[in-house]
Symmetry: C2
Subunit: 386 residues, 2 copies
């Protein structure tokens, strides 16, 4: 290449993409007397043709609340709401994230019913169904509108708030997905009443997580409410759920990196081992239960490496136990667990980043975990339940 | 629902997601003496492990430049560049957008070679391959890094600049896709030398389009250069390609709506019929050729409804003909053409929005086309070539 051929020319542009994220809490949102959906689906342009909507409903939710299909049909019969064109039932939990045929079924319904970028996919379910149906909706026409109706505690305080979608491929959780901001997230507390007790309790581990990382006062509130929450007291749970959801949304909106283009993901405390435990257990451990154990593991490690005090470590264990959540599991002793560190690094990209605790309310990032200390931490947890 | 149950609570957050878009023009970028790729793949963090890259190469490009696979291997052997882990060949043109198996093949390679969010997919090809491989890369781990090496005129001045990916499903063009900002777009003018004459010429219809919409002086420049461009004079084409690419990038970066969350897409002038013509012709008409005809059609219509002067309409036809581009086609008379209006509306969502011309350099949006006038416009174009 001769010097005269050096004609490099660069044009560089920095720009921002604006998003609005709405999070709404209420009760009985499908009751025709409840005006919440009028606001969520308000038309921005009177000249526009009526938009359409398809509903994707978690089979688990439909089993627990058999009336929901009729309730959806009745509510969307209102003339100011989008025209309801189909209600699809999809299996809940990891099944819907593991089966590509379900994604294709949702895409086909979007195509058949001419759901366009001004029309909606309304998803009713737990985190897995929100993830999978959200993935289909975020890629159809490069993104049709999505309203998430979060039906579990875990979804209402965490999973539904995020700006992510995802499905599993090559036996890797969330290997394929998108970043996508829903039009609205609707948290209907009546839907929580049909959860079984494990599904109710598991959600609160994500509240403990964010409290440990960011807010000691919030940890106190959870601790004060823990016994009543375990017994499914909605009045005790409501402020915890809302505050947790708000903290998640603020982290996304003001954290400077909502689409995770930078490296740090400090809200992933306790998650490297949780993802592994979930899949190693064949999903007998739910996500929230696995996160509870993961938090306890990284808290034990934080204590052993001289960051977190023993008293505060004990308080974390105490809150988990009073919430009715597991703090240990036989699979922690399985050698496949530590392989999760590398898989976690790969999913994040770049260096391994793990969040530990300096104290309750203050996380600290590290880029290495000492495996001997991890094993000691596991022994500490095993001794608690022995 | 009793009034005491009205506990609606809303949390709303507006936020922006920052992106950087880099567009680089040069020649022989795979020459080891050319430092351009050193800058494109520069590590931002010396502590990070070496990242990896897989290359996806358009079979059409590999056929025209059989040495490219070796050139890629040689260039990425440099120790400061990501480690090259595989070179995949994929069919070019609409084939790669129509076949889901190709997407799966790219995803499998990303998984196998542990391409993470700090690693790269380097795509070498025309717009279709950039779209399809870009879709796979934008969903793996919710988006690994992509560097687009645009190998056609159309890609260098238009297709590669956009922040979109897409594949065809349900016989609809780009039914599934994402918005995604590449790490960099590299335009190597040496790659243009292996294009056949049709592939060379077709690209310039997109330059005529953006000039018609936004910049009368740019239209003059294209007109002045048209005869030389038709004869493949790179010195005449270079400033047109770069200026067009720059205008596209500025439209994306400063248009306020890079991910098309609002309604208008004024750069889609001439495209409603072009998309139809392409598919009705079984893709015998290339995208750029179809766009040339589509521009002529909407220009004729703009003239017939009293917006564009006859003299300026004639100038648009003249430039197209001197660029060696088609201005009409027998399929314009096919009744399936106007069905493209509805399909176009649906893809954009909401109201139909069509851009017409008030004069060269000034577009105008309308929300309705009169079908009788469309047919008259077609007759005008047919008379030109009769």
């Amino acid at each position: 290449m001769s010097p005269t051929h050096t004609i490099a020319h660069e044009i560089r542009n920095d720009f921002g993409v604006p998003f609005t994220h709405r999070l709404l809490f209420d009760r009985d949102v499908l009751n025709p007397e409840n005006p919440l959906l009028d606001a969520v689906f308000e038309r921005e342009d009177d000249d526009a043709p009526q938009s359409g909507v398809i509903a994707v409903v978690d089979q688990g939710l439909a089993d627990a609340r058999p009336e929901i299909k009729d309730a959806i049909t009745t509510r969307f019969a209102a003339s100011n709401l989008p025209e309801l064109r189909e209600v699809l039932l999809v299996p809940g939990g990891e099944t819907c994230k593991n089966d590509p045929a379900i994604i294709d079924r949702i895409l086909a319904a979007i195509e058949k019913h001419r759901i366009d970028r001004r029309s909606y996919v309304a998803i009713f379910g737990g985190g897995a169904v929100l993830d999978a149906a959200g993935f289909a909706a975020s890629t159809a026409h490069r993104g049709v509108r999505v309203v998430r109706f979060a039906s579990t505690v875990l979804a209402q305080l965490d999973a539904a708030i995020g700006v992510k979608t995802g499905v599993n491929r090559f036996e890797k959780k969330n290997f394929v997905g998108t970043f996508d901001v829903p039009t609205a997230v609707v948290c209907d507390e009546a839907m929580l009443e049909s959860l079984d007790v494990r599904r109710w309790r598991e959600g609160f581990s994500e509240a403990v997580k964010i409290a440990c990382l960011q807010d000691a006062a919030f940890f106190e509130s959870i601790s004060d409410a823990a016994d009543r929450i375990r017994e499914r007291d909605l009045d005790a749970a409501r402020p915890i759920i809302r505050r947790c959801a708000k903290m998640h949304l603020e982290h996304i909106a003001s954290g400077g990196d909502p689409f995770e283009r930078l490296e740090a993901r400090p809200l992933d405390f306790g998650h490297w081992s949780a993802h592994r435990l979930e899949s190693m257990s064949g999903f007998n451990l739910s996500h929230g239960e696995a996160v509870a154990i993961g938090i306890c593991l990284d808290s034990a490690y934080s204590n052993l490496v001289g960051r977190l005090s023993k008293a505060e470590f004990d308080r974390i264990i105490d809150v988990m136990l009073r919430l009715g959540l597991p703090v240990s599991h036989p699979l922690l002793g399985d050698d496949r667990l530590v392989a999760g560190l590398e898989e976690f690094r790969e999913h994040l990209g770049g260096r391994l980043t793990i969040t530990l605790l300096d104290k309750i309310g203050l996380g600290a990032e590290v880029h290495k975990m000492e495996l001997d200390r991890v094993r000691e931490s596991i022994a500490v947890l095993h001794s608690i339940v022995d």
